[in-house]
């Protein structure tokens, strides 16, 4: 519609104008659409080629993994028999579930607070969240390690009780660090949902006699639910895939999947890691496609 009027009312540029404006670069870019498309295809190939290679080689029967020999599922079978990997997987799942639930609850409360109320310290909490997201993860990792070790020693020395060693680097320190890692992402996504929320429907509910709890569970929660779902899956993935922070705060007695992979990669390539990586990529892809269908995440970010 706007196009039509624009074309009708605009004066076609005269030959003189054309000469002024169309520089050499403009002329070179006259056929840029084709170039742009080709460039984009190349970049997508660059982004996906390593992943495809990885998946293909996970079915390669050659142990050395560098030339194609034949199709096999041996590495997958080997993977499912490897107790160290299974244990690490279970630990990763547990930590991801606990830290996701905690971060979503804390993050939902905080999103309501930050989106619907005005108070003085708001800037500080927003600032902390954004800093946490952009900071290089290694800084958060090593400072958490120092903090937990110091806290554990401090409690032992001054209280004589260290809360069953939960602050000694291990399982719970990873959980605590992952919750802190997940909260800012949960807040950003849930807040975005709340921002587009028409509060008139809450008022209508209250006018019709619903009490605040009913309003929350029957109106507010269903409306922001896609946001909570998206945030949950993102938090779960972030926690499950996290390596840097986990590596520093996990101590000696536990392993998550990424920490286990790190140990294996440092030892050298094995087809088993290819198989494991292929599964991890497949699972993440399924999560993203599910999210896109259910919650239209790609629309939320734009």
């Amino acid at each position: 519609m706007a196009d039509g009027t624009a074309v009708e009312t605009s004066v076609a540029p005269t030959e003189r104008q054309r000469r002024i404006h169309l520089s050499l670069w403009d002329r070179l870019m006259g056929h840029s659409d084709l170039g742009l498309g080709a460039w984009s295809v190349l970049v997508y190939v660059f982004l996906y080629m390593p992943v495809v290679v990885l998946i293909v080689f996970s079915f390669n029967s050659q142990k050395l993994n560098v030339t194609w020999e034949g199709f096999t599922l041996d590495w997958y079978a080997m993977l499912f028999r490897d107790t160290a990997i299974i244990d690490a997987f279970v630990t990763s799942m547990e930590i991801a579930v606990i830290s996701t639930v905690a971060a979503i609850v804390i993050g939902t409360f905080a999103s309501f607070s930050l989106e619907r109320f005005e108070y003085r310290t708001k800037m500080l909490w927003d600032g902390l969240n954004y800093t946490k997201i952009i900071i290089a993860e290694i800084v958060a990792g090593v400072s958490s390690l120092l903090f937990f070790v110091q806290l554990n020693e401090f409690l032992l020395e001054y209280l004589g009780f260290n809360f069953w060693s939960i602050f000694s680097p291990g399982y719970w320190t990873v959980v605590f660090a992952h919750i802190a890692w997940n909260i800012p992402f949960a807040v950003i996504i849930i807040r975005a949902r709340l921002r587009g929320f028409d509060r008139a429907i809450e008022e209508a509910g209250a006018d019709l006699g619903a009490n605040p709890a009913t309003v929350f569970f029957k109106i507010t929660l269903p409306v922001i639910f896609p946001g909570i779902l998206a945030a949950s899956l993102l938090c779960f993935t972030l926690s499950f895939d996290d390596f840097v922070t986990t590596f520093f705060v996990i101590g000696q007695n536990y392993n998550t999947l990424p920490v286990q992979i790190w140990g294996m990669v440092r030892m050298g390539i094995t087809p088993e890691i290819n198989a494991l990586s292929a599964i991890m990529i497949a699972v993440s892809s399924v999560i993203v496609i599910f999210l896109e269908l259910k919650a239209r995440i790609s629309k939320d970010i734009a």
Binding site: A110, S113, I134
Partner: protein, 300 residues
């Protein structure tokens, strides 16, 4: 009218469980506690730790002020070398991602409907995939033996006779850094370009501007917020990167993040690691300050 207002007030009062003045701080308090305890306090602690005097093998901290670790960092030649290499990596990675990513982001933004959703999704997918796995995927491709994918291709094409050393070189680290961080650049760029109203392109065309002029004078200036955001999201994490130098650099490409990793693991020198990490923190704060100034000045 008055009646309507009362009903409305009544409704609003129903919605309030508690005094609204207290509700905001109350609801934010669990998050406030968590972020203070497990993020801000550790950051303050690591700063104190790095300037306290302590022996290397003992974790206890005393508050006697001592800058020995910083002196060591700033006088040591190998640390200086790592610093320069890290800055180089940050610049190349950031501009590499920007130059490779901008045309792609523009390409996606002019698409429409299902196709655009698909292209955005393909950029987002790597976000959801383990960084470690994506980095590891390059080992097979860049392998230094004749079985490495690139080496075997080049040998079969007759381009080379002997396998070329690719893994454990600076070049490999540059390449994989760009690969790992490209989505972090493309997504903010796309969001930035997407926000530009399409009628501005038409106006530019109607006024006689060619594609290059439109790009230079309309698209790029208006997508500056996206460019700044993308550069920040790539530059800051690159400074502390140690996964890529470890897996692809094989420990031969010594970056700042690798030094921190070493100090906290094999080196067993936590105070030095803390000081190294704080240098990084200061650098990041400078970048963020520059970013805030840049977007502040432009009044976005």
């Amino acid at each position: 009218m008055a009646e309507v207002a009362t009903v409305r007030d009544e409704g609003e009062r129903h919605l309030r469980l508690i005094n609204p003045k207290a509700a905001g701080p109350l609801l934010v308090s669990p998050m406030a506690f968590w972020m203070l305890a497990f993020f801000l306090v550790p950051l303050i602690l690591i700063i104190l730790y790095s300037v306290g005097t302590q022996s290397v093998y003992q974790n206890g901290v005393s508050l006697a002020f001592d800058t020995q670790w910083y002196q060591q960092i700033f006088t040591d030649a190998s640390t200086r070398k790592a610093f320069i290499l890290t800055m180089q990596m940050v610049l190349i990675n950031t501009f590499g991602c920007l130059i490779i990513g901008y045309p792609l982001a523009y390409f996606i933004s002019v698409k429409s409907g299902k196709r655009k959703t698909l292209f955005v999704l393909l950029i987002m997918l790597p976000f959801w995939t383990s960084f470690l796995v994506r980095t590891y995927a390059w080992i097979t491709i860049l392998n230094n033996t004749e079985g490495g994918l690139v080496n075997s291709w080049m040998m079969s094409l007759g381009l080379i006779n002997e396998p070329v050393e690719m893994l454990y070189t600076n070049f490999a680290v540059y390449l994989v850094l760009i690969y790992d961080y490209l989505p972090f650049m493309v997504l903010p760029l796309f969001v930035g370009i997407e926000k530009i109203h399409k009628s501005l392109y038409e106006a530019s065309k109607d006024l006689g501007a060619g594609k290059w002029t439109t790009l230079r004078r309309v698209t790029i200036p208006l997508s500056m917020p996206g460019i700044f955001a993308g550069c920040m999201l790539v530059a800051i994490p690159t400074t502390g990167e140690f996964v890529v130098p470890a897996i692809i650099g094989g420990g031969k490409v010594v970056l700042w993040g690798w030094l921190i990793y070493q100090a906290f693991t094999a080196g067993r020198n936590w105070p030095l690691g803390a000081a190294l990490s704080n240098v990084l923190l200061v650098f990041m704060l400078i970048v963020v300050a520059l970013y805030l100034r840049a977007i502040g000045n432009k009044d976005f």
